[in-house]
């Protein structure tokens, strides 16, 4: 009886104790441990920085940030990787090619800007202005990506909030004019450029000069669309100017680009990469690998744990350190030939003389001798070195038979009956995968460190969004279009420092020279497609014709002469080839100047005007 009483009493006590615990307000109003509130986020600079890292990571690209595949879809290279991606050599630019419509990202940024105003009480004004400026820079960059692919797009700078009325029309914003989007980018940069007080000197976060670099590039695009679109026999435009900029605005845009470029060039913070003690070609390669290069204005950094597979993708075949991969992006002959000779003559390689006879070379590299040093920094060609070792490139052996040279080829790394190399370990080999089909490999961005080509550790060299070399070319082009005599100096400076040309190598400029200079300097840096579009020559360069040396990617194969007893025995000749894997000439239609808008987007917003030809 007594023990039963004690038992009930203790149960009663325990239950009462539970209730006592509940009384505490703290228990019900604890800070959640699995989520971050807006108040916490917008009052903690470190957390905001974490959010910004996410946004920087989402900056858009088409063929940038070590995007191996897309770079194989233009005229600078073809795909020599796994055959399952051979469609890149057979690409038909669809109406939606290069389509971009990331309003999720725009909304994220707008939301951040508004929430920082709403919730932040602990941040100093300096911090607030800094973060505000970075967010608006990222938004301006995204709008630039939108306008260069789609033309004028709806300019949304605040959250769009549905009022629940059943009528969504207040959320359906029509497209701005193409010029209005460029003007928005310019105005934003003017508003924020002096607010970056925390990130001065940074290479990976936006600052004044990063914003000016965006101005330099975006205003150049706007100026050239204003000029060259109206020079077309049938300019591409819409009645509401969602596409097309009046020619009268060209000078204004070029001037805005030039003034930004000049300000960056004048800054002691940046200089063209030019260390002593190594060759110009080596320097041009190292410019992208050296994270202390003062040429770089804005980069996307990589490090252990955040890596990219570009070296795995593109390393020279016999230098690969993984069991697969290598050789995916292989530069085209037309790119190699666009690098001029140092004496200023055209870059066409001298493989045959005027009579059609092969020109004989003692060494394979001789045919590439005296070329623009940027060729060495961009492309691994036969007879050159990689990782301080000679590459083993030779397509086959040329045998003298019946009064002409006949070619013998074998598998990679085979020996001919004379005991010497038949086909090198690095090819080139036609119609094969993971070996160059063009006779060239990529050097730019491919790491010298063998470990960088091994999965999963991979490579951590950074991606340069903006660098001073481009700014010089932007300045040169804008000045040229404005008939400003300083144009020549900007272009010559880049040719001298990066290309190894003598000082003042050019005495006169044409737009074609500038176009070629951008092709060779900025190859594989996500410029070519957009440059050809803004000059309105994409449909002429990529004209879809099988006979065109630019629209079709060609290669150049080196052969060793085996002709015992003859003075040419053991020397080399070169043969131009059209790789079997390259299927279809690049064909850029008028419809590709502005990508089509997704029909789902058009369904949601009937106020949107379609782009021309769609």
């Amino acid at each position: 009886m007594n023990s039963k009483y004690t038992f009930y009493l203790s149960i009663l006590l325990i239950v009462a104790g539970l209730f006592a615990g509940c009384n505490e307000d703290d228990w019900l109003q604890r800070t959640p441990k699995d989520r971050i509130t807006d108040e916490q986020l917008w009052n903690d600079p470190n957390m905001i920085l974490g959010l910004l890292a996410n946004y920087y990571d989402r900056l858009p690209q088409l063929a940038g940030v070590f995007n191996t595949g897309t770079n194989a879809e233009f005229d600078d290279a073809m795909w020599s990787g796994h055959v399952d991606q051979n469609w890149r050599n057979d690409i038909n630019y669809g109406d939606d090619y290069a389509r971009y419509w990331d309003y999720t990202f725009i909304r994220d940024i707008n939301l951040s800007l508004e929430n920082m105003e709403k919730y932040s009480v602990k941040l100093t004004d300096v911090q607030k202005n800094q973060f505000n400026a970075e967010l608006r820079f990222i938004r301006a960059y995204v709008y630039f990506e939108l306008v260069k692919r789609m033309g004028g797009v709806p300019l949304i700078t605040t959250q769009l909030i549905y009022d629940g009325s059943g009528d969504p029309s207040s959320l359906q914003v029509p497209r701005a004019k193409e010029s209005e989007v460029y003007d928005f980018i310019y105005d934003e940069i003017q508003a924020i450029k002096n607010n970056f007080t925390v990130t001065e000197g940074s290479r990976t976060r936006a600052n004044k000069y990063v914003a000016l670099a965006l101005q330099s590039r975006a205003m150049l695009y706007a100026g050239s669309i204003a000029k060259y679109n109206n020079l077309m026999s049938a300019p591409i435009s819409t009645p509401g100017a969602e596409v097309g900029i009046p020619a009268s605005r060209a000078a204004d845009y070029y001037q805005k680009s030039l003034s930004a470029s000049k300000e960056i060039i004048a800054s002691p913070e940046y200089e063209l990469y030019n260390p002593g003690g190594s060759s110009k070609g080596e320097n041009f390669y190292k410019l992208f690998m050296d994270k202390n290069a003062k040429e770089v204005i804005f980069a996307k950094d990589f490090m252990t744990g955040k890596v990219h597979g570009f070296t795995y993708d593109n390393v020279v075949r016999s230098f690969r350190s993984d069991i697969e991969g290598s050789s995916m992006l292989t530069p085209s002959l037309s790119l190699v030939e666009s690098y001029e000779y140092l004496d200023g003559s055209e870059g066409t390689l001298k493989d045959k003389d005027a009579a059609g006879n092969y020109i004989i070379y003692n060494n394979m590299a001789d045919i590439f001798a005296n070329k623009d040093a940027r060729l060495y920094g961009t492309v691994v060609y036969p007879g050159s070195q990689f990782r301080n070792m000679p590459v083993n490139m030779q397509a086959g052996v040329a045998i003298w038979e019946d009064g002409e040279y006949k070619f013998r080829i074998g598998n990679l790394g085979t020996t001919y009956e004379d005991g010497k190399v038949l086909t090198g370990f690095d090819g080139p080999k036609d119609d094969d995968q993971y070996v160059s089909n063009t006779g060239f490999y990529l050097r730019k961005f491919v790491s010298e460190n063998p470990q960088d080509g091994v999965r999963p550790s991979l490579a951590s060299n950074w991606w340069t969004w903006f660098r001073l070399g481009e700014i010089y070319l932007n300045a040169g082009e804008a000045a040229f279009e404005l008939n400003d005599p300083s144009a020549l100096g900007f272009i010559n400076k880049v040719r001298e420092v990066h290309g190894g040309f003598p000082a003042n190598s050019l005495t006169a400029l044409t737009i074609e020279i500038i176009q070629n200079e951008r092709r060779v300097e900025l190859a594989f840096e996500d410029h070519r497609f957009f440059d050809l579009k803004r000059w309105r020559i994409a449909d002429k360069v990529w004209n879809g014709q099988d006979s065109d040396s630019n629209a079709v990617v060609h290669g150049l194969y080196p052969y060793r002469i085996s002709r015992p007893g003859h003075s040419d025995d053991g020397k080399y000749i070169f043969e131009r080839v059209r790789p079997t894997r390259f299927k279809r000439a690049r064909f850029f239609r008028m419809a590709n100047y502005y990508s089509s808008i997704d029909p789902a987007v058009l369904n949601n917003n009937p106020k949107l005007v379609k782009n021309p030809f769609h």
Binding site: Q545, M590, A600, N603
Partner: protein, 224 residues
């Protein structure tokens, strides 16, 4: 034991029975015809210009692309119903975005789509003499606001011969071409074409507002 087998068979049978509800029938009707001007089919680049089909009555609208063969013919598999055909921009003819054609598709419907090319070529004839092909033709201006950009003779070794796929091609000197009057264009065949028994030829004309040619129908020319 026997009972077990019975159950297994029953279960498998049930699986098959379910399939019927999951699948839609494939579209069984076809819409076909030619793209025509003045009741003559318009030659195009194979798989080049496109038409669009739309269907009303659904919340979301997506275009059905219609591809056109080199001779101007097209064919689409559809469900029965009412469709709208749009002659969109980008072809060798004037876009007629607001002048929609309504087509009722039932079983095998044949419909010729009328278009208004910027330019056409008529009265074309081709002669071959000793490795030279001469084309005689008349360029006609149809649309008022387009200018002549290119007149081009194409030679190929297959029936799919056009601006993108050809073995040899030659531009006419535009100053020598007057719309409505006869013009001619000669080309010396390349060595590799001369060795063939026959080649395929057509003439194209392009207006400045498009990058697609209007082509004559492909003709086979015997070289022997």
């Amino acid at each position: 034991m026997k009972r077990n087998y019975f159950y297994i068979i029953l279960c498998i049978g049930a699986l098959f029975a379910g399939c019927e509800y999951d699948n839609f029938d494939e579209p069984k009707s076809t819409l076909s015809g030619n793209v025509v001007y003045n009741e003559k089919p318009v030659g195009v680049r194979t798989n080049g210009p496109q038409l669009e089909l739309w269907q009303d009555g659904y919340a979301l609208r997506y275009a059905i692309p219609v591809y056109i063969a080199h001779d101007g013919s097209y064919s689409v598999s559809l469900f029965d119903g009412q469709y709208k055909m749009v002659r969109k921009a980008g072809g060798p003819w004037e876009p007629q975005l607001n002048d929609t054609i309504t087509i009722n598709v039932k079983n095998n419907t044949v419909y010729d789509v009328p278009v208004k090319p910027y330019f056409t070529i008529s009265n074309e004839s081709f002669q071959h003499t000793a490795g030279t092909i001469t084309a005689n033709f008349t360029v006609n201006k149809i649309a008022e606001d387009a200018n002549l950009a290119q007149v081009r003779l194409f030679i190929g070794h297959s029936v799919l011969t056009d601006q993108n796929k050809n073995e040899q091609a030659m531009n006419a000197d535009l100053s020598g071409i007057t719309p409505g009057e006869q013009s001619s264009l000669s080309i010396n065949l390349s060595e590799s074409l001369k060795s063939l028994d026959e080649v395929f030829v057509r003439v194209g004309v392009r207006a400045n507002v498009t990058n697609e040619f209007y082509y004559t129908q492909v003709q086979k020319i015997s070289l022997n």
